[in-house]
Every structure is written in structure tokens, then in C-alpha cells.
């Protein structure tokens, strides 16, 4: 039997990440990045970093950063797990918590990486359609499953639900791990951290990429019961013990400790969002109610794809999804007031 090394390698459809443009003139409202810089304390960490220390391995347990986050959330340090961006944390959660033969459940319209990880790790899954109003109905998740994951607020709809929603999911699923992906929670949503005391099968995942303006540094984390966190640690330490580098650990710790700046910039994004909702509506757009740093909008008379391309030609980048149910929508990240004004000027001209 003829063998070949090609028979032994993994064939997978390449997921191609979006290219980051380097043109400084671009108004970039397509990646849900924060328009404000990180805390000035992050700058101090980098600019005073004792570079000679880099010859050593970092703290594999991310002690200082976990301590800062535990204090911030009012939980124990052994309830915090750190990863190289929330994608790393989520990928490890999939490998750790979704290990049955039963399909895991997530919405049909949601974060595009969930089915990618299922394919990678051979996890069966079922997509549960959002309601007509693009909302998640907890009753739809009361069926046999190997686990549940969904973002709250959901993306790219932007719609956020309250604590009673998460609690309904948990009450309906005592036999599965339920992961709530709170990537956008800091822009007006209600975190389910208070439910951790009562539900030991709850995992909350957050990121520093959006609300803390640290997408460039790669920091995500999970908050859960000590039992689930130690299961996650065991898998992570069998994969790569040192995911978090020294500079990132210190910079992220400084960010967490500067709560005033964090609250101020989140509030600025929320204010600009509310202003932007009105501007979109006055142009005739339908806007989904958002508790995130983006808006999903659609216009009854104009094709989203055409608007996307027209804006792109003017160096204003927003996001278009060629995907059922939202293929006439645009997802627009909230920028500064100035950036949003330029977007609305461009739209006003297009609509004349």
C-alpha cells in the first residue's frame, strides 16, 4: 500500500483573517475596535519596562493579572483563567467543556468562529435560529445538548439580554456547561458574574480587545467556578504553559487597575452610539437596539452591499455579511464623534 506524507496531514478549509489596512486616511469602522487609546498607565508600563527581564520565562499562572481581575470582579483568583485573546480562551473552552457526543447549541446568527472550532475539534453542533426579532429565546435551548455557547450581547445583532435571560438558560440546562461570551458587555450590558455563586456550570468569557482598547496585545479571560477553571488550566498546560507574555501581563494589569479611564471611555462610546442611532434613523435606517460598540443597520430602500461598496470607495470601512437573514444589513463600529460625523456626511450625500 503506497503511503504519502500528504495523507497524514490535516486538510481544513483555510479561514482567512481580514487584512488590516495601513492607510492612515481610512475611517475604520469594520472590526469593532475602540476609537480611544488604552489607559495612559499602559503606556507607562511599556515605556518603563525592564527589558532585561525578558530573558526569563513569564509567570505561567499570570498571578498579578488574575489578582487584579479577581479584585475587579469580586471573585477568587482561582475563578479566573487567562488566555491569548478571548479566541484562545474560547478555543480552549470548546476543547475542555464540549466533550460529549451530543451536539452543542448556538444561535444561527452569532460569532462566526463557533462553527469553525466545532469543525476543528470534531464537536457536533446545532444552530438555533434567532426569533423573528433577531433575539435569543431561552426555551429554544431546552433540548438535549452537549453544551451551550452564546454571546450576550449577541453579535453581530448587538442585542443584549438581562440576568433573567441567562438564568433561564442555566435553569433549563443543569446538565451542560453554559458559556456566555461577554465580549461586548462593557458597553451597557449586564454581566452575569453575580450568577456564578449559584451556577457552577456557568463560564463567562470576556476580552480586553474592545472595551479596554487592547486588541493589539491579545488578552482574554474566563470567569467560572474553581472546578471549571482548573479543568481549563489542565488542558491549557497540556497545550502551551506560557501563553501570556511578560509585557502583556503587566500592561493588562495596569489597565484593570485604572477603572476611572475604563469607565470614561466606555461611556464615551455609549454616548456616540446613542447619537449615531438617531442619525441612522433620521436617514431612514432601521437600527437594532444595541448594547455594544457597534450597530447593525438596514435600510428599506437601499442595498446594504451597495452602501458598503460606496463607503469603501470613500475610504470608510464598515462590515458587510454575505449571510442569510443579515445580508441586507451593515455592521458599523462606533468610532469617535468625528469619525461618525464623516460617515453620516458620506451617507447623506449618497442618499441625496
Amino acid at each position: 500500500m503506497k503511503s504519502n506524507w500528504r495523507d497524514k496531514i490535516r486538510k481544513i478549509d483555510p479561514y482567512v483573517p481580514g487584512e488590516q489596512s495601513k492607510d492612515p486616511d481610512i475611517i475604520k469602522l469594520n472590526a469593532n475596535e475602540n476609537p480611544y487609546p488604552p489607559s495612559p498607565d499602559v503606556e507607562a508600563v511599556l515605556h518603563q519596562f525592564p527589558v532585561h527581564a525578558l530573558r526569563r520565562y513569564p509567570d505561567a499562572n499570570s498571578g498579578n493579572l488574575r489578582h487584579a481581575l479577581a479584585q475587579h470582579f469580586g471573585v477568587q483568583e482561582n475563578q479566573i483563567f487567562m488566555g491569548n485573546g478571548s479566541d484562545d480562551v474560547l478555543a480552549l473552552c470548546f476543547q475542555t467543556f464540549f466533550c460529549s457526543e451530543q451536539p452543542i447549541l448556538f444561535p444561527d446568527i452569532t460569532y462566526s468562529f463557533y462553527p469553525v472550532w466545532c469543525d476543528l475539534f470534531h464537536i457536533p453542533y446545532v444552530r438555533i435560529p434567532l426569533t423573528e426579532e433577531y433575539r435569543i429565546n431561552p426555551k429554544d435551548y431546552q433540548r438535549i445538548n452537549g453544551g451551550i455557547i452564546l454571546p450576550n450581547p449577541n453579535a453581530p445583532t448587538g442585542i443584549g439580554e438581562g440576568l433573567e435571560f441567562v438564568e433561564a438558560l442555566l435553569r433549563g440546562n443543569p446538565d451542560s456547561v453554559v458559556i456566555i461570551d461577554e465580549a461586548y458587555i462593557d458597553f451597557g450590558g449586564v454581566s452575569c458574574v453575580p450568577l456564578l455563586d449559584r451556577y457552577e456550570n456557568l463560564v463567562i468569557v470576556q476580552t480586553m480587545s474592545k472595551s479596554r482598547s487592547l486588541a493589539g496585545l491579545r488578552v482574554g479571560y474566563a470567569i467560572a467556578s474553581p472546578e471549571l477553571i482548573s479543568a481549563l488550566e489542565a488542558v491549557k498546560n497540556s497545550y502551551n504553559s506560557y501563553t501570556m507574555d511578560m509585557v502583556t501581563l503587566d500592561a493588562a494589569t495596569a489597565s484593570v487597575q485604572d477603572d476611572a479611564y475604563f469607565r470614561k471611555t466606555c461611556q464615551q462610546v455609549i454616548q456616540t452610539r446613542e447619537r449615531s442611532v438617531e442619525r441612522f434613523q433620521s436617514l431612514g435606517f432601521t437600527v437594532m437596539p444595541s448594547l455594544t460598540n457597534f450597530l447593525l443597520v438596514t435600510h428599506p430602500k437601499r442595498s446594504a452591499k451597495e452602501l458598503f461598496e460606496n463607503l469603501k470607495a470613500q475610504k470608510i470601512f464598515v462590515r458587510y455579511f454575505n449571510q442569510p437573514r443579515i445580508d441586507n444589513h451593515l455592521r458599523v463600529t462606533i468610532g469617535t464623534d468625528d469619525e461618525m460625523d464623516k460617515l453620516f456626511c458620506a451617507l447623506e450625500v449618497l442618499f441625496k
Copy 2:
């Protein structure tokens, strides 16, 4: 049938990473770290980093860094794959290249993570014993297999083999991917990069943690044929597109571009190693011939475990492996001349 969320989560024996001591008085010769700081150009990158840029996602393709490495090695950019330390690169290689039902092969005495990844990814494996002289015989690897991985120089023996050794492995295994883990290659070994032109099933993995003094930053990479690199990219982009943060990308690029400093510090480590070999031998130790930044030593009359504990009590940390065939050996990382002098002073007192 009663289900429970605990039935659905992964049970794995936790691998516990070694704790990094913060006591500045310790002479730390236990983790194969470099005694010299990274290139001064790395310091310049950190201390002048435009921190506002961190609000954006980094370049998922690590363009500048791959360009610098491609120039350094005289290969194409599409022959370089970047990861979050070489553990990340190796873990992705295991998932990408070892996907048959046949067992992969590696030495019985080698990097301790290989069997850990096999267990994590359910890859069958066979450990091939080193020869009596603790060397790797390529003939032992001529059997049906799902892939081959081994370090050259090997760890923790420190023994390095030449190009003809790697070529014998490749000629004997045209139907498998052969991964050569060159973590320690820069301390006097011969890299097999020149073989890439002729063997498209060869993957070379290197790290910036040892020879470039960047353990604290987490940078590793693979060099291989464009076909293998794109298979690796596809798996990585299905896992986490943004493993490399902005600061690390720029700092690592600066390190690669400062070749003079790199060569100088590697040469210093080699000189101290050769001096240390003589010192160990004059104390009656048997020393394995090393092409790395560590020495594996054993004494005919003294227990390695006792020496290890005695040194530890004096705040000199070396590495002891409670493992067949090497459980009477110590692995000693090469420090500065001053650190090594202190080690030998302590040993001389112990041997009086």
C-alpha cells in the same frame, strides 16, 4: 438516563508548570534561559512603542517579522510560520501533521511535552530508546510511522548531530512529515535549513526563548515548504488568528535584525560552556558533549538528587529529572561566567 455537566468535560492529568522564583539572590540555572539580556534594539522598540496603536488588531500574518526571518534564513516568506512560543508552534504541528492512525516516533529521552501533546490530541506514539551512548540512531526510525519529531540537538542530553543525520532520517521516511525541533541550534549546532530545498516533508521549529533571550515574550516559528506552512496556517487560523501581539512582533523583528548582538551573545554562552565542561570534568563529573546552552552531567560517586538538593539549599537551582536512564544526572543551564564560578565553588565545597 441521568446526565451531568461533569460527564461532558475533559479529564486530563494537569501538567503543572515550574514556578518562577522571584528571589533575586537565586542563581537560576534550571530553565535553559539566556544569561544575557535581549538586543538593545528590543529595548528601543518597547520604550518607544506607540501605545495608542494597541486599540487595533495586530497583523494576523506577522508580515514584517516573517520578512525579517525569511531574509535571515534565505527562504521565502511563505516558508515561515509564527507562533506564541515554540510550544504553540509544535502543538499546532502535532494537530496538523500527525493525522494518521499510525504511531508517531520520538526518542525515549527528549522534550517532555511530546507525549503530553499526543495524549491531548489522541495521537498514537512509540518512544524509541536512545542508544547506549544516549544518541539517536536514524535506522531505529525506519519503520511504519505517522510522523517523526525529535530535537537536534536533543534535550536534555545536549547532543547534536550533523546534516547527514537529518538527511538519513528524511531518506528513510519519505512518507511522513519529519519535524526537527531546533530549540537549541544556535549554540553550535548545524541547522538543517539547507535541506528544505530537497525535502518538502521537513519542518524545522525554532524559538527565540533561548538564543535571543526572549523567553518572556513568547516567540517561536516553523520553517518548511510553502505547502506545509499553508496547512499549518489553515489550522492556526481556525484556532486563533491573532496569536502574535503588536509589541512582540516589533520586538522580535528588531532582535532578528541585530545579528551582531545575537552572534556575540551566543558565542559568549558557548565559551562559558566549554570552560564549564572542563570545570565539571576536573571535579570528576562525566559530561555529555553539548551543542546547547546546558550540560547534562553525572558523577560516579555522588547522587545527582543529593547534589541537586544541596545546591538548592544554597540558592543555586539546577534541574533534576526523576526519570529512567537520567535519574542520576543533573541538567545545568549555562549562566554567566560569574554564575558558573559560584556553582563550581559550591560544588568544590560539597566535594571536600
